[in-house]
């Protein structure tokens, strides 16, 4: 176990800078989001909205509350994504490995392909859990400060973020192992996600969800996250498992 953790240490050591930047971004967005929702209650945003958009409206306070809730929901996306994207930093370590003789050195070391893959996916798993915990705590704090109740859609957002972060990290890592280049791997990742998005658009074009026709965009988003959240755990697990199997196979591959 100790030797396993020492190999994990190597990747985390390499990602130190990137993880610190993620942490800093998270803290910055955390503080910003709290300040913005406080501004809805006591600050300039309240003043501006009441004096302009909501001026003379009988239900101005109620409308303000709805704006605050919807805006607050969207604000949460940024810090949550910072928390759940730590896996992507771990995947990018392999970019540096391509630039050094590490891949040859690692290949010459007595570490089995399975262990190498396990190390990587253990890291993805740990950072997924960490991302979840950080995001959940953030959501609780945000809810306490803003007075906006935490809902299933918040949980859905966190889980969906983790699924997305894991998918990106796993795919990026596999593409780097295949193409040995961040540019090509990035291109493939973009193409893959573009294809998925287009597929989703086409699907919903032929299978419109009738119930959303009367809903506002924020309501649609919240419902989407609530539904996605249910499947996100499965999506994350599937990416981790299949990604592990493919990675072990790629490690076994010898240069041609």
């Amino acid at each position: 176990m100790r030797s396993f953790l020492r190999l994990v240490y190597r990747d985390v050591y390499m990602s130190k800078k990137a993880l610190l930047i993620s942490a800093f971004s998270f803290i910055a967005f955390f503080v910003l989001s709290i300040l913005i929702v406080i501004s809805f209650d006591y600050g300039n945003i309240r003043t501006i909205l009441l004096e302009t958009v909501l001026k003379d409206l009988p239900q101005a306070e109620e409308m303000l509350g709805i704006y605050k809730e919807n805006f607050g929901f969207v604000l949460k996306i940024y810090p949550i994504f910072c928390a759940v994207s730590m896996s992507i930093e771990i995947a990018q370590v392999s970019v540096n490995d391509e630039k050094t003789a590490w891949k040859y050195f690692y290949r010459s070391a007595p570490v089995s392909c399975r262990k190498k893959a396990l190390v990587k996916f253990f890291e993805f798993f740990v950072f997924d859990i960490l991302g979840f915990v950080i995001s959940y705590v953030y959501s609780l704090v945000f809810s306490a400060v803003s007075g906006i109740e935490m809902t299933y859609s918040d949980m859905g957002m966190i889980l969906a973020g983790i699924a997305l972060g894991t998918a990106m990290a796993v795919l990026l890592y596999i593409f780097i192992l295949i193409f040995h280049s961040l540019d090509k791997a990035g291109l493939m990742l973009t193409a893959t996600f573009a294809a998925v998005l287009i597929g989703i658009e086409i699907y919903f074009a032929f299978h419109p969800i009738k119930d959303v026709s009367d809903m506002g965009p924020f309501e649609v988003l919240k419902n989407a996250f609530e539904t996605l959240g249910l499947y996100s755990v499965l999506i994350t697990a599937a990416f981790l498992l299949v990604g592990f199997i493919i990675t072990e196979m790629l490690y076994k591959r010898r240069e041609k």
Partner: protein, 292 residues
């Protein structure tokens, strides 16, 4: 695994690329010795070493390390070998201390005390980032951790390239020390033939994917000779008797592969010992036969 004669045995390795082929590479590294694997850039040294380390797949042939098949017993073998490359495989942000932690995770026989003693011996700082070390210090660091897990075989791929003569000399001294017990062996690829000449027991010379010479270094140097003569005398030497000849306005230098035979046949000629560098240079130009 202790009962083997040769640390490395390579038989008939063939590897085809577009425009290049490793063609029937065969040589042995006896236990306790150093084999200098020489050849010019692009000759196939690194490809051969990658085949030994099972980084590159071969089309055919057999490689044995410590008497064991290098594919079937890959992990067992790798516990006892150290690979040193021309550049340090750790990122610039790593320190010697951090490398110690990582290596503990890789090698069950990692000797931390020995590693730190090497660092002290080589004057390497523990906490300084690799990116701030000179090329010579980086190489010494590589060697420090390569020698710190009781490896029985050290494989070095162009590890002394780009180092100044003083650092190279220090490294060669370290290797002499490393081999003292007779149980350890070194495969050292280089195009710096002077280093190989100083330290190697055996030599394998590769050119364009083929092994042109292999055997004990002293025998190779002893057998080869350099005839120095005038151009007129050069015309009297049969083409089959020499490898190639370098001519200029003043005369000719001709490499022969059998010095004793050349002495007998061309008794008036001045025949000197050839250095490994000369041997390499003249063999590389063997197709031209006469060159300037």
């Amino acid at each position: 695994m202790n009962d083997y004669e040769n640390a490395i045995e390579i038989n008939g390795i063939i590897k085809q690329y577009d425009g290049f082929k490793l063609d029937g590479i065969s040589f042995d590294l006896p236990k306790g010795g150093i084999l200098g694997f020489i050849g010019q850039n692009g000759a196939g040294k690194t490809t051969t070493i990658k085949s030994i380390l099972n980084i590159t797949a071969t089309d055919s042939g057999e490689i044995k390390i410590f008497g064991l098949d290098n594919i079937k017993h890959e992990n067992e073998i790798k516990r006892h070998i150290s690979a040193v490359f021309d550049e340090i495989p750790f990122h610039d942000s790593f320190t010697a201390n951090a490398i110690n932690t990582v290596m503990k995770g890789m090698y069950s026989e990692w000797d931390e005390k020995l590693y730190f003693s090497y660092l002290e011996k080589f004057g390497l700082p523990r906490k300084k980032k690799i990116g701030k070390l000179s090329k010579g210090m980086k190489m010494k660091l590589q060697i420090a951790y390569a020698l710190s897990h009781n490896a029985k075989l050290l494989i070095m791929d162009e590890a002394t390239t780009g180092l100044d003569p003083i650092v190279r000399s220090e490294i060669l001294d370290i290797f002499r020390e490393y081999l003292k017990d007779g149980e350890r062996s070194i495969l050292m690829s280089s195009h710096i033939t002077s280093d190989i000449e100083k330290i190697a027991d055996c030599v394998a010379f590769i050119d364009k994917g083929k092994i042109l010479l292999s055997g004990y270094k002293d025998d190779i140097i002893e057998n080869h000779g350099m005839i120095k003569c005038s151009k007129a005398d050069f015309r009297e030497i049969a083409e089959d008797d020499y490898i190639s000849a370098r001519t200029n306005d003043f005369g000719a230098e001709i490499l022969v592969s059998d010095r004793a035979k050349a002495k007998r046949k061309y008794s008036g000629a001045v025949i000197e010992k050839a250095s490994l560098e000369d041997i390499m240079l003249f063999y590389v130009n063997r197709d031209k036969k006469e060159w300037t």
